[in-house]
């Protein structure tokens, strides 16, 4: 069972209130008609599926019903952070400890309260 911190509600809630919606940060091609079959197939079907740190989209289905992102480890299942749509993750595969030098310094409030996998 995950305990997930919803960045919109600002509360730690049980997994059952949420639904996972797949990999995060996938942008729909601006001009779908201009895509090759290769590009369109990649957009629709091909995912990173990493063994390690993964950014994923979740929805707080029976709470605020807003979509947000989670950075989670796919082997330990540890939730490293949750963040709002449009924000960038502090933890990435290249920065597994969350030291993000380039991005504007942003406190990662969720990280401190991020859910644990119980």
């Amino acid at each position: 069972m995950f305990y997930i911190h919803c960045p919109y509600c600002g509360e730690l809630r049980e997994e059952e209130e949420f639904h996972p919606k797949g990999q995060a940060h996938i942008a729909r091609p601006a001009d779908p008609a201009a895509c090759t079959d290769e590009e369109w197939g990649d957009y629709l079907f091909f995912r990173d599926n990493p063994r390690g740190i993964h950014h994923e989209l979740w929805v707080h289905a029976v709470g605020c019903r807003k979509f947000f992102n989670i950075t989670r480890h796919t082997v330990t299942y540890e939730i490293l952070e949750t963040y709002k749509m449009g924000e960038r993750p502090a933890f990435t595969a290249d920065n597994p400890h969350g030291h993000d030098a380039e991005a504007a310094p942003r406190p990662a409030p969720a990280a401190a309260q991020a859910g644990v996998h119980a």
Binding site: M1, G41, D42, F45, T74, Y77
Partner: protein, 416 residues
């Protein structure tokens, strides 16, 4: 290989069963093989067996990072059926079903294949329409099937609540009498023993750490026990296929999810068939030991941890108890998870890749066990000839760019 027989059992009893031959060798890796199969689960071992037996390729290695059948082969709920909707999928699973029917004799190993029939329940009008369509399609493809109404289901499974009072009343079911269950460990061990007897080297605790690729052609693999060369490499690594593909610079349209199952304490015989329900998300059978074997749907998030979340188990048991109120006080003994590689169209990938000589057999998702012999057979044919077998050809990875998907979500669904 010492053949197993009733006579052999008596003979070995005289020496207190202390002189049985080991089922397979534990060889040191050779420098070079004709074909390397990466992954020592059911599908990989079946591939190696058919390569050696039917396609004359005996210089084969199976490389397994753990132990034989330690992954999904030993974690599934052992259901075997072939009632898939589309022609391509029905051909593949029915090919497998026919091999299942002679498998124990073929391998000289009792895989305990029990054709006790599978019911796929319908709980809504739309379920029943889909069932009728699927059974009609099955019959046109030579797959046995019948549509039953609630009375017919009740006659087959008297302990099920088929009354109108259920929250999701049973309206009927599809019934495939030739379907059933098999003993999953025995499938892995039987294929391993038979392949080993034909000269296949089974290399356990050997992990592939990279591929040797030159000018777009594969010529070997790096492992923790040194480099091994082969011009043909078939990857059959289920949940970890994507990790292997990445080593070769290939992306697969797969997502790895936890899939959970559980068994109860052993009971006296009470359920003599397999009951599956897509609508309420649960499926159940009783093993020969007497345990109720219960399977869930996948956990929705990606995970390689071989475990899932508790609510998934809880929802599954709610569905089972709703269908079988008599089981409400049965205690559960064990619960576990596997890593399943789900494909967007709920069909597998059996395919060449951009790297010449590198093949993938993956994406079986939640329903690979039933296909073990058929998948191994057509994949072995493809590796031996360098051309995909006609049954495997529609499952090329190219379909995710051409759009020629084989959408089996209806027949696969939660049902495995």
């Amino acid at each position: 290989m010492q053949r197993y027989s009733g006579f052999g059992l008596v003979k070995h009893a005289l020496s207190h069963h202390e002189n049985w031959q080991r089922q397979w060798r534990n060889p040191t890796p050779k420098k070079q093989y004709d074909v390397i199969v990466v992954g020592g689960g059911g599908h990989g071992l079946a591939t190696a067996y058919y390569l050696a037996k039917e396609f004359g390729v005996k210089n084969v290695a199976v490389i397994e990072k753990g132990w034989l059948g330690g992954g999904n082969t030993a974690r599934n709920t052992t259901i075997v059926r072939s009632n898939y909707l589309w022609d391509e999928a029905a051909a593949l699973y029915e090919h497998s079903m026919k091999l299942w029917e002679g498998l124990s004799q073929d391998l000289n190993y009792n895989v305990m294949f029990s054709q006790r029939g599978v019911l796929n329940l319908g709980h809504t009008l739309q379920d029943m329409r889909d069932i009728q369509r699927r059974v009609n399609a099955n019959r046109l493809n030579g797959v046995d099937g019948e549509v039953l109404d609630a009375k017919g289901v009740q006659a087959l499974v008297p302990i099920m609540d088929c009354s109108k009072n259920a929250r999701y009343p049973v309206l009927g079911a599809s019934w495939q009498p030739r379907a059933g269950v098999a003993r999953h460990d025995a499938v892995a061990w039987g294929f391993a023993r038979a392949a080993d007897a034909l000269g296949v080297d089974i290399l356990q605790q050997t992990e592939v750490t990279g591929f040797k690729i030159r000018d777009g052609q594969i010529y070997g693999v790096h492992t923790n026990r040194g480099d091994i060369e082969a011009k043909t490499v078939g990857c059959v690594a289920a949940g970890n296929s994507g990790v292997l593909a990445k080593m070769a610079g290939i992306k697969l349209p797969l997502e790895s999810h936890p899939l959970q199952a559980l068994v109860s304490e052993p009971l006296k015989p009470i359920l003599d068939t397999v009951v599956m329900s897509n609508h309420v998300h649960g499926y159940i059978s009783q093993s020969d030991k007497g345990d109720l074997v219960i399977g869930a749907g996948i956990d929705g998030y990606n995970g390689y941890g071989q475990r899932g979340s508790y609510p998934t188990v809880e929802h599954t048991l709610q569905a089972i108890v709703e269908m079988f109120p008599i089981f409400s006080r049965v205690r559960m003994n064990r619960q576990w998870g596997g890593v399943v590689d789900t494909c967007p169209d709920a069909c597998p990938i059996l395919s060449k890749t951009r790297v010449k000589g590198l093949y993938f057999n993956c994406g079986w998702g939640t329903g690979g066990f039933k296909a073990t012999p058929g998948s191994g057979h057509v994949f072995a044919a493809s590796l031996a000839r360098g051309e995909m077998h006609s049954i495997a050809a529609p499952f090329s990875i190219d379909r995710f760019h051409t759009g020629a998907l084989v959408d089996e979500h209806g027949a696969a669904g939660v049902a495995h």
